[in-house]
Subunit: 234 residues, 2 copies
Amino acid sequence: MARSALTRDEVLDAAAALVREHGPDALTMRRLAAELSTAVTSIYWHVGNRESLLDALVARTVADLGTIRPRGATPAERMMSVARALRRALRERPHLVAMVHERGLTERMFLPAQRALVHEAHAAGLRGAHAARAVRALQFQVVGYVLVERNRERAPVQSPAEEELWRREDAGADGPLARALAAPIDTERLFVDSVRALVDGLLAGAGEGAAADTGKGVPGDTGDGDVGRGPYSQ
Amino acid sequence: MARSALTRDEVLDAAAALVREHGPDALTMRRLAAELSTAVTSIYWHVGNRESLLDALVARTVADLGTIRPRGATPAERMMSVARALRRALRERPHLVAMVHERGLTERMFLPAQRALVHEAHAAGLRGAHAARAVRALQFQVVGYVLVERNRERAPVQSPAEEELWRREDAGADGPLARALAAPIDTERLFVDSVRALVDGLLAGAGEGAAADTGKGVPGDTGDGDVGRGPYSQ
DNA sequence: ACCTGAACACCGTTCAAGT
DNA sequence: ACCTGAACACCGTTCAAGT
């Protein structure tokens, strides 16, 4: 069998590799063709155009994001474990997640996690629209946090260093506060603190009955990867 | 006086207009030149290159983001008013804010708001590193929320409609929950709820003494707009 | 000090043509 | 059904040259 038969999957693999290693900007049709030792135009036959190539990569990422298994004894703990798992999954695929975000598919991507959160919110005694808002608040919180966090990491040396920006005068007489704000952020801890505060705030006043519910997790959410094949000639 | 003397500010104004009306992708050097009825290369003389042109726009936006005036009777209320004001400011400049974000300058942009939050956290009785974490948690929350929110607005018709994704089985026996999750999000309300829950969680247990503190607001944070002028020849 | 056109090395995409 | 090279209309950027 001749090895040289180019397939759509090979194209996607090579494209994903380029993105993973050099970022989305490095993914040009010509470079991709060179990587695959083929003509640029062959790629067009397999994936249509650059836009739908990116769409396909994004669809893959959405499918890749596996199911989330909540852990912990109480609903609050299990909600926090979902939040941590979500964050980790996002951080493992920064470029691709950014692309998902650009395409406005973030929500679709988080459906499995959302299901797990619904389960836990219910177990915590939240019901109806109240539970829905709690789930979404947490989801927004986690996704937003990771976006901000990634942003900080990509940031160049912040134009004026944070320390310069925080002179003593601004923090009143609170020396430790000023010092804490001048120090680099412990994003790990800040994340946990933020999530805990939010979860506490959301669950405050909810009926605390079903805390011993089995943290069984999410119904399987597999499949759904493919996005349409075949030629793209008009 | 000859009207035709091209200035750096004119270039920036035209560029900002292009971005505001057609998005960052529409800002090409050639189109900008056409807009200004000048040669492409003239623009290079004034702003160096595309990258530093974007930098300058971003610096402008950062400077534009005015000071924030907290309102409300209690520190908690004033913190929430800062959060709302921040969100509004972000939503008024979506393209430019996205550019600030891409450049990793989000933090720099929010310094004024951060100052206001520090003031209120202190008034609420938080001290030292604890106060610093509260301020940052809230800041991450607001910025992250707006990023997610913008993302949703740009989203195309979510591939499978949310309703299809939420069949009854997933929400257990909670019909209202399922219906609430299938309905479009009231992002305004979700934002307020989330912020309130977070603020409540953050302030829980803090000394509640100085609630009547004057909500005087932030020390002036003007100036700082310019970013270096002159020729860019190597 | 400011502006210009020509030129270079890139893009994504289309098309007519091959096998 | 798959692959190809040539060509088009765009990019950002540099350079040598004008005034």
